[in-house]
Amino acid sequence: MGRYVLNRILRWIPSVFFILLVVYALVFFGAGDPIKLIFLKAPGDVAYDEARIEAIREAAGLNRPFLIQFGDYMLHIMRGDFGNSLVSGRSVNEMIKAAVPVTFSLGLAAIAIIAVIGTILGAIAALNQNTWIDNLIVGFAQFTWGIPVFVAGPLIIVFLVLVLKMDVPFGWAGFFSPKIIVPLIVMGLNPMAIIIRQARAGVLEVLSEDYIRTARSKGLPTKTLVIRHILRPVLTPVVSQTGLLVIGALNNSILIEKVFGLPGLGWLTENAITRSDYPVILAIVFIFSFVVMTSNLLVDISYPLLDPRAASKKKGED
């Protein structure tokens, strides 16, 4: 088991490395000169003093070959230093430290809540297949899956404020304030639909298995049947689907933070884009890739834990 984990980690490192390399290269070869960008605001501007710009570039080490610059950057990252913002000069580390709790706490809370509620709803739908309960839940899932967050968010805000006359749910007041409720709900809508669907499909599939018939033939009470015999097999696909949600959550965080004015990573990203703040962008790419890869890793590790058949196969690998 330990070897399996190690194996997975070893595969994870090159992937992150690769992504970072590609992004760094894109930024390096593409966007052009950070120094120039500071001084030249519009296309077609002519640098007022080429020599001066060259000197600054030389001093900043921007004339070294690509690989050396990249290597240098990687070394810095491994020491945990992401450099300074091109725009504000502040340490990128600080900016990120401030933003991460916002995004992560919201994201994790949303995913955790959705996974649990979604699974329960999906199971209820499957167990009452083709009744009004099922249709209601499935219809709800179809409905919420369709609407993108940046549409649902504003519509809900408009509704709450203009119709219900509530306060505008804008801004971040810490994780435990009521202001977090609306963004949390909006963030949860799309993923919940996916989990509901997955759980429902999973339960339906398990229901048609022979071993459920065996369990029924033993006259077990429904509660035992559902919790012990039905939910356990369903955990595997649900957990892996939850892992996939992480990417969606990262994407959505960028959108939600704009809609609700939350100072998280998404908001940082948007600012960095509009001002071409490369160190920030690169740092964020790294963090996002790290998060995604880590969640994939966790999902992979969970398989042998959840499915005894997979566990034996892994032992076989050893």
Binding site: D210, Y211, T214, R216, K218, G219, D307, P308, S312
Partner: protein, 330 residues
């Protein structure tokens, strides 16, 4: 030896896209305490559905539309959920056909064996596991205590079927229904399981219903046999009578189609011509008529009911559902 189970006029139907499928058409039989009953018929004749209807173990698209199943004064057809659950596993237990898929791969053997015991007999875990280990020993599985902590995929097919048998026995039910328990196994394992069941039968006091499509399997094992076709019982007899004096054309055809070692090399295998009937309509005539070499006009107009064979004492144990007297015509 009294009547333990009394089934009368049982009818079960499935809702399908093309209408209603009449899977069980008026089945009636009794089961005595300690008796071993064989149920034989081809695929699709309704033998499994009939027996599963006894404990209402049916998919949502199926429903029992008529009949009674009396067990110890309770009509299982009309019983409520609690009553039926109290019967399942505890008074009537089932062994299923495919051991590879009938055990939950996510749960340890110990849990699957003991949960019925803990629920029906209100036993604690320790006591239940003790009992389970004993039964594993009984069905011939070594290292029983260790096996309880293993998962199904760690056992072979034969072993899993033994576990299924132990699972059915562990609550000491009065009736055990074995639905083709050896069909999915190798012939050698099949023989072992049959031997096992014969042994157990002597030790236990339970009645056993053994469903199979292989008539030759039942020889030397069961007391009585029901022959089913198209959702009806067509012949009912004790073992000796069925093999020595089969009366229903279908039974006769079945027996003749069994290849024998003593057969002439060039003799063609005999089979029953024709196809099983379409069960979308309620039967209004004998459903075997189209394939029957003895058929008469009456066969095509009326559904024959199960009655004592011609020539026998009224109320005898040998009955057929047929309008024709096949004695001497074979």
């Amino acid at each position: 030896m009294s009547e333990l189970l009394v089934v009368r006029d049982l009818e079960t139907q499935f809702k399908v896209r093309a209408g209603r499928l009449h899977a069980v058409n008026g089945v009636s039989f009794n089961l005595r305490q300690g008796e071993m009953l064989g149920v034989v018929g081809e695929s699709g004749c309704g033998k499994s559905v009939t027996m599963m209807s006894l404990i209402r173990l049916l998919p949502p698209s199926a429903s029992i539309t008529n009949g009674t199943v009396m067990l110890e004064g309770l009509d299982l057809v009309k019983a409520n959920k609690e009553q039926i659950n109290a019967v399942r596993g505890s008074k009537i237990a089932m062994i299923f056909q495919d051991p590879m898929t009938s055990l939950n791969p996510f749960l340890k053997i110990g849990i699957q064996l003991s949960e019925g015991l803990m629920y029906h007999r209100k036993m604690g875990k320790k006591e239940a596991y003790e009992r389970c280990a004993q039964y594993l020993d009984l069905v011939g599985i070594s290292n029983s205590r260790q096996r309880l902590e293993e998962y199904p995929h760690q056992l072979s097919g034969g072993m899993r079927q033994r576990v299924m048998i132990a699972m059915a026995l562990v609550c000491e039910p009065k009736i055990i229904i074995a639905d083709e328990p050896t069909t999915a196994l190798d012939v050698t394992i099949q023989a072992q399981i049959v031997e096992l069941v014969k042994e157990l039968r002597d030790k236990l006091d339970a009645s056993i219903i053994w469903i199979t499509h292989d008539l030759s399997l039942l020889a030397g094992m069961v007391d009585r046999i029901l022959v089913m076709y198209a959702g009806c019982i067509v012949e009912e007899a004790c073992l000796r009578d069925l093999y020595k004096d089969p009366r229903h054309p279908y039974t006769i055809g079945l027996l003749e189609s069994i290849p024998r070692i003593k057969d002439h090399e060039n003799r063609r295998l005999k089979s029953i011509p024709g196809q099983p009937p379409n069960l979308l309509e309620k039967p209004t005539s004998c459903l075997f008529a189209s394939r029957c070499t003895f058929k008469t006009k009456r066969c095509e107009r009326e559904v024959p009911s199960l009655a004592s064979v011609p020539g026998d004492v009224e109320g005898s144990s040998h009955r057929i559902a047929c309008w024709v007297d096949t004695r001497g015509r074979q």
